[in-house]
């Protein structure tokens, strides 16, 4: 006789009455037969570069599992998305099950668990960008890249030629650039709807889109500000830096 979930009879008692060994036995007895365990390293073909990146990440943390997000980044860079094949490769290097990495990948917005376009255009549609015309900008990017706006504003949409992935994204942390986009991990803003076509054409031509609107070019909003008298003056240019420290 077995319990309601097919567990052996001696394990049908409430779980808090079981010993640790019995619990492990219970879990093992309930594991589906087709569940994939930890893939053996020698069974999986892993690109050398990917393997090295994951191993480097693992070496940087006190506990190996901390490398799961860096490992998934490496997989996504190598394969273009977190493909089952890539996840299996990372799982083999890390010594975890593919299901574990899959569960992590599916939690985070930036990991694609299905294939997506080559250039990623994330259009912020949160409060500040919305008030400054983000919806029009998203529409312009969808028109320029020939993607479906309905999908783009929801899960993200890939163009038919596979070149572009456009997504309406939650706040990207650049409300001062509103409305703004992140294109292939670089921020640009503030943009006009007209900039979308220029950006998409530049990407097609292999150029940097909108270089003059890059975040890195932006100076502090307040411009030059005089030093407050309480803020210590700069140390003299040569030597004396050590002595200049105040009590």
């Amino acid at each position: 006789m077995t319990g309601d979930f097919g567990q052996p009879e001696h394990l049908t008692r409430p779980t808090d009455e079981l010993s640790a060994a019995e619990r492990r036995e219970l879990i093992a007895s309930m594991r589906p037969e087709d569940a994939e365990g930890v893939p053996e390293l020698h069974e999986v073909e892993i690109p050398a570069e990917l393997r090295e990146q994951i191993e480097t990440a693992m070496s940087r943390y006190p506990q190996l599992r901390s490398a799961s997000i860096p490992a998934l980044w490496a997989v996504q860079r190598h394969h273009g998305w977190c493909s089952p094949e890539g996840i299996r490769q990372a799982a083999a290097v890390m010594g975890v099950t593919p299901a574990y990495l899959q569960s992590v990948a599916s939690f985070y917005d930036l990991f694609a668990t299905s294939p997506i376009g080559r250039h990623r255009v994330l259009v912020c549609h949160n409060i500040s960008c919305w008030m400054n015309g983000a919806d029009e900008l998203l529409q312009a990017f969808c028109e320029a890249s020939k993607t479906e706006i309905e999908d783009a504003d929801h899960h993200g949409a890939t163009s038919a030629d596979g070149e572009f992935f456009v997504k309406g994204f939650e706040c990207l942390g650049a409300c001062d650039l509103a409305p703004m986009v992140s294109i292939d991990e670089h921020y640009y803003g503030p943009l006009e709807p007209g900039d979308a076509l220029a950006a998409i054409e530049a990407l097609r031509a292999g150029d940097e889109p909108l270089p003059e609107k890059a975040l890195t070019k932006r100076r502090a909003a307040g411009g030059e500000v005089d030093r407050d008298p309480r803020v210590p003056a700069d140390p003299p240019p040569h030597g004396g830096a050590e002595e200049a420290s105040r009590p």
Binding site: R65, D109, L110, M131, H155, E170, A178, G222, S245, R246
Partner: protein, 447 residues
């Protein structure tokens, strides 16, 4: 025009090469680190941080020194985590601090590690800030090279390792216990508290978690003393604060101010106020999770305590301004959608409450709601606040409840007739046709 900016962390912010070690050291950088490692005891450091009154700049405003003092003494493995997962709508100060002055943060991280006795520091930066993380990586490599990090800091034999950990897009990871789970390589779900991270945090060890801006202040306090730090700002909110101003203002951006100046000065004198002919209708004083305030409350002093008295909060110091062209019900819907998308789904009140709030607000903006629905929206918010493991649900409930209360007339108007699409100057987000409204929204985090 830059009348009331007081730049401490933003001093030299646009100096060419500041992100590099050479320029940072030329301007006096890493003096504090050398002094702290060579001359000061951990308890002295914690004591001076506590005395300086420095409050956490990430949102909660808790005393940094006190937080540090909660970590047990002893030889166990301890950790420092820098929370750089800046994801709250309206907040972008850490981005500029890290991009332009990464060494100021690294120096602060090493000093914090010394103060609490940690050998590991992790900077958890949101995945979207990829180019900023590259800047940090370069700066960390330089700091290792120069002996400001690693096994022999400033020649004292003391060890601090620093790792820049990139997230992958989840607002919830800014919550400190979710951040720890993400750092341990799991899905970023918040943990039950207590135990608090100061006792049992990363890998089960005592962990100090502080925001980028908080840690960026430490070198200045070591260099100049706690008394000097208290000469800035107000008695209960000493120091400066980098305030992110965005939305309907003419000069959006980061401004470093002394806490205590009136909000009006920040919004109008610094950020230029709304465009010509427009008025401030509502403003979030501390990011999208702060209850909104109205035009009448613009003269409040910008401090932790006055904003709390006014029923809102300073939070991360992010002001979002909505002018009189913005529909408040639409604004509430945008706000609620964000939290609905970002809810991790662990606690029922947040997972379901954000979902139903979005659906009800959509009904309001379509003109299909009754005044009774507004009461239901308000009661849903009451049933979220305080009933979850973390405050993500509260972060939606507080501003939405404030909007429904303070702009009740507008909600009732819109509920009766829908958003007034043809009113002059009235903007409505996107083409919210029926098909767009009926489609299911994403549930939980993830694509």
């Amino acid at each position: 025009m830059s009348g009331s900016e007081t730049r401490l962390l933003f001093n030299h912010i646009d100096e060419p090469g500041l992100a590099g070690l050479e320029t940072y050291e030329r301007l006096g950088g890493y003096r504090a680190l050398k002094r702290a490692f060579r001359e000061l005891e951990p308890d002295e450091l914690i004591g001076s941080f506590e005395e300086s009154g420095l409050r956490g700049r990430g949102g909660a405003g808790f005393s940094m020194g006190k937080k540090g003092s909660f970590l047990p003494r002893g030889d166990m493995q301890k950790y420092v985590c820098c929370n750089a997962d800046e994801s709250e709508p309206g907040a972008f100060k850490d981005r500029e601090l890290m991009m332009k002055n990464p060494h100021q943060l690294i120096e602060g991280c090493a000093i914090a590690a010394l103060a609490v006795g940690a050998a590991y520091v992790f900077i958890f930066i949101r995945g979207e800030y990829w180019e900023i993380a590259d800047v940090l990586d370069r700066a960390v490599a330089e700091a290792y090279e120069a002996g400001h990090l690693g096994g022999d800091i400033a020649g004292t034999g003391k060890r601090v390792e620093l790792v820049v950990h990139r997230g992958a897009g989840a607002y919830i990871c800014g919550e400190e216990t979710a951040l720890l789970d993400a750092l341990e390589g799991k899905r970023g779900n918040p943990r039950l508290k207590p135990p608090f991270p100061a006792i049992q945090g990363l890998y089960g060890g005592p962990t100090l978690i502080n925001n980028v801006e908080t840690l960026s202040n430490l070198a200045h306090i070591v260099n100049n003393g706690a008394e000097w730090f208290k000469s800035f700002g107000s008695e209960q909110s000493p120091g400066t604060k980098v305030v992110s101003v965005s939305g309907c203002v003419q000069r959006p951006g980061n401004y470093e101010i002394e806490l205590g100046i009136p909000a009006r000065e920040i919004i109008f004198d610094l950020a230029g106020g709304p465009r010509e002919g427009r008025r401030v209708k509502a403003w979030f004083p501390g990011g999208s999770s702060a209850p909104v305030l109205t035009e009448a409350e613009l003269d409040l002093a910008y401090t932790f305590e006055t904003l709390a008295e006014a029923g809102s909060m300073l939070g991360s110091g992010s002001i979002i301004v909505a002018d009189d062209t913005v529909s408040i019900p639409e604004l509430a819907l945008r706000t609620a959608r964000f939290y609905h998308h970002e809810s991790c789904g662990k606690c029922t009140p947040c997972r379901e409450g954000t979902n139903w709030t979005v659906k009800m607000l959509e009904r309001v903006t379509r003109g299909e709601a009754t005044p009774m629905d507004l009461d239901i929206i308000a009661s849903v918010q009451e049933n979220i606040i305080g009933y979850c493991l973390c405050v993500l649900g509260d972060s939606m409930a507080m501003p939405v409840a404030a909007m429904v209360t303070k702009f009740r007339d507008e909600f009732e108007d819109v509920a009766a007739s829908g958003s007034r699409l043809d009113a002059p100057g009235f903007r409505r987000p996107g083409e919210l046709d029926d098909s767009a409204i009926d489609r299911p929204l994403t549930t939980g985090a993830g694509v």
